[in-house]
């Protein structure tokens, strides 16, 4: 199970691997933010999050294949997924609000299966390869290595969106209500904040972020009905290590998990790296149940 020969690693390769870590971390953060928001506000562990990522990837493929400019595609995918997420919350998830987390696990698991089945019905089982947009299809020199420009673009955009989410949460009226409900649900509701309505918007935003992560990743990893399954596991690692419901914790943990994955794959082997990440999760739950920043919620 040992990884590749550590003695042959040059500085250039190390720089490139660190870049890989930043790229993976940024996409994981984007994916995990939505998951954290939904849990933080609604105490819903959304196992359908991966299916929404897959939906984003597949819709991105279809729109791009029909000539829609890539940035417009991402915007459309985010809006459509947000609308879908809001609808799912109103129609399905709202019915198990205020119940133990086990209920949301079961329900969203079923929802995820349903969405995946529908995706396969519409798009088929074959994985789709999405060509990188022309202006981003080259490799460029950066920090002494040549690196695919699309990955850098995806990383920068993911970080920008994540920062935007943090800014909105910090400074907007909507963000204030979300944080209030997150911190003190009873007090916030007694002050007139409508949790039901807020939850719809949070589920919508979370779904949009998942689909956006899928769309941004599609030119890298391709698109298929099951592409979200793997990253969902990584996203759950992130939110546990970051602290359940902690947005800042998710951001930090996203990059930590990204770097750990990349460096682990390179120096100790893919399966071992994943094993160590799960060990980190167990350690976090045992020793730091509120996550690395101590801001999470103990379930």
């Amino acid at each position: 199970m040992c990884g590749d020969d550590i003695q042959d690693k040059g500085v250039g390769e190390m720089v490139a691997q660190l870049l890989n870590g930043v790229v993976l971390g940024s996409l994981l953060t984007l994916m995990s933010l939505g998951l954290t928001l939904i849990f933080g506000l609604g105490r819903v562990i959304n196992l359908a999050h991966g299916a929404l990522y897959s939906f984003g990837a597949l819709l991105t493929f279809t729109l791009a294949a029909n000539g829609v400019p890539f940035l417009f595609v991402l915007a459309i995918v985010t809006l459509v997924a947000s609308a879908l997420g809001g609808l799912l919350d109103v129609a399905v998830v709202a019915r198990i609000r205020n119940r133990p987390e086990l209920h949301s696990l079961l329900l969203t698991f079923g929802m995820g299966l349903a969405i995946t089945g529908i995706l396969q019905r519409i798009w088929g089982a074959d994985p789709r390869m999405l060509p990188v947009p022309g202006f981003l299809s080259r490799t460029i020199p950066i920090f002494g290595v040549t690196y695919p420009s699309f990955r850098l673009f995806a990383c920068v955009l993911a970080i920008a969106i994540s920062v935007l989410v943090l800014v909105v949460l910090r400074y907007s009226a909507w963000g204030l209500k979300v944080r209030a409900i997150n911190d003190h649900p009873q007090m916030a509701m007694s002050l007139g904040i409508n949790r039901k309505v807020l939850m719809v918007s949070v589920f919508a935003v979370g779904s949009g972020l998942a689909a956006l992560a899928g769309g941004l990743s599609a030119p890298i990893s391709g698109a298929s009905p099951v592409i979200g399954d793997t990253i969902l596991i990584q996203a759950f690692l992130v939110i546990v290590i970051g602290g359940l419901g902690s947005v800042r914790g998710s951001v930090v943990a996203g990059f930590l998990v990204g770097f750990a994955t990349v460096l682990g794959e390179t120096y100790i082997g893919g399966q071992t790296a994943l094993l160590l990440l799960f060990v980190a999760v167990i350690a976090t739950l045992s020793v730091m149940p509120k996550g690395i920043l101590g801001e999470g919620r103990v379930v």
């Binding site: 199970m1 990884g3 590749d4 390769e13 490139a16 691997q17 890989n20 790229v23 993976l24 399905v92 019915r95 198990i96 119940r99 133990p100 086990l102 209920h103 079961l106 329900l107 698991f109 079923g110 929802m111 299966l113 349903a114 969405i115 995946t116 089945g117 529908i118 396969q120 019905r121 088929g124 089982a125 074959d126 994985p127 390869m129 060509p131 990188v132 299809s137 080259r138 490799t139 040549t146 695919p148 699309f150 990955r151 990743s217 030119p219 890298i220 990893s221 391709g222 298929s224 009905p225 099951v226 592409i227 793997t230 990349v262 794959e265 390179t266 082997g269 893919g270 399966q271 994943l274």
Partner: protein, 417 residues
Amino acid sequence: MLSTHLRKTIFISASISSLALLATSCAAASGGTSGGKSVTSGGKSVKVGIYVPLTGAQAPLGIDMRDGTALAVEQFGEIGGKPVTWMAADTQGNAAVALSMAQKMVQTDGVNLLVGGTNSSETLALAAQAKRLDVPIIAINSQAVSVTGASCSRYVFRTNPNDAMTAAANAILLKSDPDLANKSWDVVVHDNVWGRSNAAAFEALPGIKIDSTIIRPVGTTDWSTALTELKGNDKAGIYAALLVGADLPRFINQTRAFGITRTILPPLGMPDSMLAELGAKSVGLRTGGLFGSWMLADKNPAMKQFVEAFVTKYDRVPSPMAIQAYQGTWWALKGLKDSPSLNSSDVIKSLEATRVDGILGAFGVRAKDHQGEIGMYAAEVVKLDKKTYGATYAWKVTTTVPWDKLAAATPSDQCKM
């Protein structure tokens, strides 16, 4: 005792899950394109049960195999005055599910023959219970040597080449092509039994020079760490023994995105649907272990007939897996037809003696281990001058490696039936 609320939640979740499974199995049974529908008619037909993944990462292969098998069944028509029908069960690429599905098809649906096995673990799971299932099991894609080797069973027949034959065929390619013979190689494989045995077989080839071995789990979505290691070694080739459903096309796509233009050699080739997805990035791929190519239709009237029927029915060219599935199923149905009864012992004896002139030429199995006596093809992906049968990219066969050059790689004495 469960609370009322929890019971309601479980009910809602189970309903949604059932709808999902129904949607998926409806898609599976009727096919992703214009595939035929399964028909069962009680004891009044001869039934073929197809065990392949129709959902999940290996679904593209499973669907190709199902479609190739279904076409063979529908064209074969009847046996002993009874229509031949087919039904497909989704194994999800999981051995335990494959066994459960096989048991259902045999015990409840009364199938007379099981055909399938996208991965060897599925076929090995069925082989372990073959006596209880008591129907012949035709593996049309399972490649682990042990299927007709140490884990052989009198009930199990393999119509596709095995891993040892693939390694031998690729060795022949490397020896015969000076450009490839002088290269050193980076080996990229999965962290599973198939991947590691493939790496071992390749690295054991006489005279081969290995620069590095990179191992990653099945389902790897981001190959950046591996590609960063591979960058810079421009003279070496890349031997990529990865699952052809999603992992291999994803790896190739990302390799080219990293600006790596080196020769990539997937030992088994890749389905044509994936060539279409990759487009120009697939051009130049080489393999020594292709199961078959629709481009053989140029020289083979039987293949041409098959390709035209497949394209008409499914609106796409047949992949190597679909070609193998069709040939293997046709041979099996001939064996069933020539058998004095549908009793498993009679059918097994008949299959051991059956030979056909199939779309890939003369075919039968070795009686000692039930390994199909079948050749392989060295090929290279080319862009066609004009679209043919709707395809723009295809595997152009450069050399045919006949069975007699591969037989020694897979001795029959490992099987003790």
